[in-house]
Symmetry: C2
Subunit: 157 residues, 2 copies
């Protein structure tokens, strides 16, 4: 199997990629600062995830946690920071007052888009050499791996 070699490469590359993605991006900071947002607004991958998720409508905190694959406290924390920076807000679900609905602050949707845009741009540039087909295969692999690793191996009733 030729994949043997691919595996080692993937195991080497994944963490490198991750650390790269996670590192704060000065350019991005500039983007933010040029609008009314505080300069120290570090936008972590988790924050980007939330902003993207919200583009499909308001989410409860639990939904967000599940979408991101993190615990609820972690989601709380991420939302806290976004609230602090005035990007999103918490509302109560009238149907069930336990759940808090997270949504963009009115008018912030565009700005959120712009902020995540900076990340997207880096991706676009990096992925340029890929054909459309390869890009699709790449996303497919990502999807499979996220599923395979993300799913908690909880069985054994």
């Amino acid at each position: 199997m030729d994949r043997e070699r691919l595996l080692d490469e993937i195991l080497m590359l994944l963490p490198v990629l991750w650390r790269g993605v996670g590192r704060p991006d000065p350019v991005e900071m500039g983007e933010i600062a040029s609008r009314g947002i505080p300069v120290d607004a570090h936008v972590s991958p988790g924050h980007v995830q939330i902003l993207i998720a919200l583009s499909r409508g308001p989410h409860s905190l639990g939904q967000l946690a599940e979408d991101l694959g993190v615990s609820r406290p972690a989601a709380t924390q991420l939302v806290d920071k976004l609230v602090e920076h005035g990007m999103v807000e918490r509302r109560q679900d009238p149907a069930d007052r336990r759940v808090v609905l997270v949504d963009y602050v009115p008018g912030m949707q565009d700005i959120a888009r712009r902020i995540t845009e900076s990340r997207r741009r880096r991706l676009v540039v990096a992925m340029e050499p890929l054909t459309d087909e390869e890009a699709r295969a790449f996303a497919k692999g990502l999807r499979l791996l996220a599923e395979g690793f993300g799913a908690a191996p909880v069985e054994e009733s």
Copy 2:
């Protein structure tokens, strides 16, 4: 561009995947425990990276740091733990006594392989639905992204 959608998906999936990969794997622990290694030997992605890198021969600490895309102190720390667990050892480079060469403890190469094997297995299973071509495209994408994000944007002499 149809990629627009792919980008959002990638930005959502990458962190999910990473967190999944990073989570300690109970199975793996079993693997380790069944040999002479202490049970609390958490093997993080970084450790796996080092074990894989060493399969191509001894590396200096600086080389390791560069290969993994981390700072030297971080590499020191990772090596510390592997030394603690008896997997690798530090030697002095006779040619330049500043550099410490990291290598497997004699006889540990196989065991190291077995430990990383458990990670590999999960990858193999997850990637099974991919055709060979898709798998190659996936690795290619990973390589490009790691390069694009990992490379420090240091220019401007």
